[in-house]
Symmetry: C2
Subunit: 279 residues, 2 copies
């Protein structure tokens, strides 16, 4: 099945709910002290998380509308590399915090997905992200150095690492639940990018193809753990807040890109400067 | 001496040098492998650091020009509280990493400056910052919860904590050297705020008065340690990069404020929303 064909099966995009609603859900659970049944907790996670998912960010909307310059696309790919390359480290921290070999075996797949495997037919996610960067004519050494990324990108990624390292394993796993919405983002982004940016082709976007089955597999696993582990109202509220904290991280990365590369003249000192005259 | 009179003695503001120059200084030192004499290292730190200091940020320029709304000033004070309240924690980490009672005795003054002392004539810096927040009609519980701060602010503060906790003590101390330039920022900001915002008075700005002697005392101590401890070219380069990393943290905090509160409609979900019709 081609990437395009796969994507036509992606879920439709629901309307976002108002901001601020999400935090209140966790507050309400904590205050009421009533344990939600698993299905209600799942609904609360889906609703609260999707409302704050970065799919609604102006920068993604510009990207999907075909309105970003090549320089802005480069800045996105270069910054997002910092996030992509930190994922296996984040997952290794989670692995290191579990006593349960069954959990670790399942969670280890995430590391393999991003770091790749010897003799595998397809590269790991990090290499595939570099393919995207290469397709955008970025110098790969520059990308891999992470030195020209926005400081705010590095800080947001550091906050993600810190969240999984210093919180409960429930919170660490719940923070991964943004994967629930990832097929929606990919379903919007890939066809839009193929249609609206002449220099982008299916090969450049190969990162996203396996994510369409990896992300739902991972999200389902994490969701089953979170609904099982969150066995008090406080833990249920913790899980929702963890998902929102992760949404904040993804949102802040796009805020930083938008602020630096959409507003003229606002690139922080030392960060990547797109080459002139690229459209 | 009144605050205004003290400030007339503040240093004039030199022109910033071009971006990117600073990183190159550390690169050059590392590459050349030549140990700079202490005075040259000090000059390199002052030049590279000042070029990237947040005094040059558009948000500070708007503030000093009297062009921020009261809501934008509130957002600044509310977000900056996250930074102010983390300073004693940051300094306690540095304290915990030293084996030297003499160093710890000197460095401990920083904690006392911000947390205050029993029976002292003036409050600590955190309380004085809350006075500023109160003068701007902010609800202090909301400020102290840090919950309505921009996620990017919290991530930048977290990166500062992480920097001092996980790097060498040389790097931790060198990252404090932004204090070298703090009297310049205060010297610009305080008279501008008093002149251009009707609702701000000297009492509201009492945070800044003791900083005018505390910051130079602290910066001098840190500078003498850094120039002594950085006894290889690599360590000298580390020290410069630490100062730049700290400049990035301060800059990113203003980027986040500028992006959220100067651009219409760009406040991230869940963050502080200024009350309407405040000018």
């Amino acid at each position: 099945m081609t990437l395009q064909a796969t994507l036509t099966r992606a879920m439709p995009v629901p309307e976002p709910i108002g901001s601020g609603v999400a935090a209140t859900v966790a507050d309400d659970i904590r205050k009421a002290g009533r344990l939600l049944p698993p299905k209600e907790l799942e609904d609360a996670l889906r609703t609260a998380g999707f409302a704050r998912y970065h799919i609604h960010h102006p920068f993604h909307k510009l990207m999907n509308a075909g309105e970003l310059t090549k320089g802005q696309m480069q800045a996105w790919a270069l910054n997002r590399y910092c996030y992509q390359s930190a994922i296996p480290k984040k997952d290794a921290i989670i692995l290191s915090r579990s006593e349960d070999p069954e959990f670790r075996r399942e969670w280890r797949k995430r590391i393999a997905d991003h770091d790749g495997e010897d003799g595998a037919a397809i590269d790991g996610g990090i290499k595939r992200w570099l393919k995207l960067a290469e397709g955008l004519d970025l110098d790969l050494q520059m990308v891999q150095s992470r030195r020209y990324a926005l400081p705010a990108t590095r800080f947001a990624v550091g906050a993600y690492i810190d969240l999984v390292a210093s919180s409960s394993i429930l919170v660490a796993v719940a923070s991964s639940l943004t994967e629930l919405f990832s097929p929606i983002a990919i379903g919007e982004r890939v066809p839009a990018m193929l249609a609206r940016y002449a220099y982008i082709n299916e090969d450049t976007l190969s990162y996203f193809t396996p994510r369409l089955h990896q992300a739902p597999r991972d999200a389902e696993h994490a969701l089953s753990l979170v609904t099982r582990w969150a066995d008090t109202p406080d833990k249920q509220a913790d899980a929702i807040e963890a998902l929102l904290a992760k949404c904040d991280i993804l949102w802040a990365m796009l805020d930083a890109l938008h602020s630096a590369y959409v507003t003229p003249g606002a690139i922080p000192p030392g960060a990547f400067i797109p080459p002139p005259l690229q459209e």
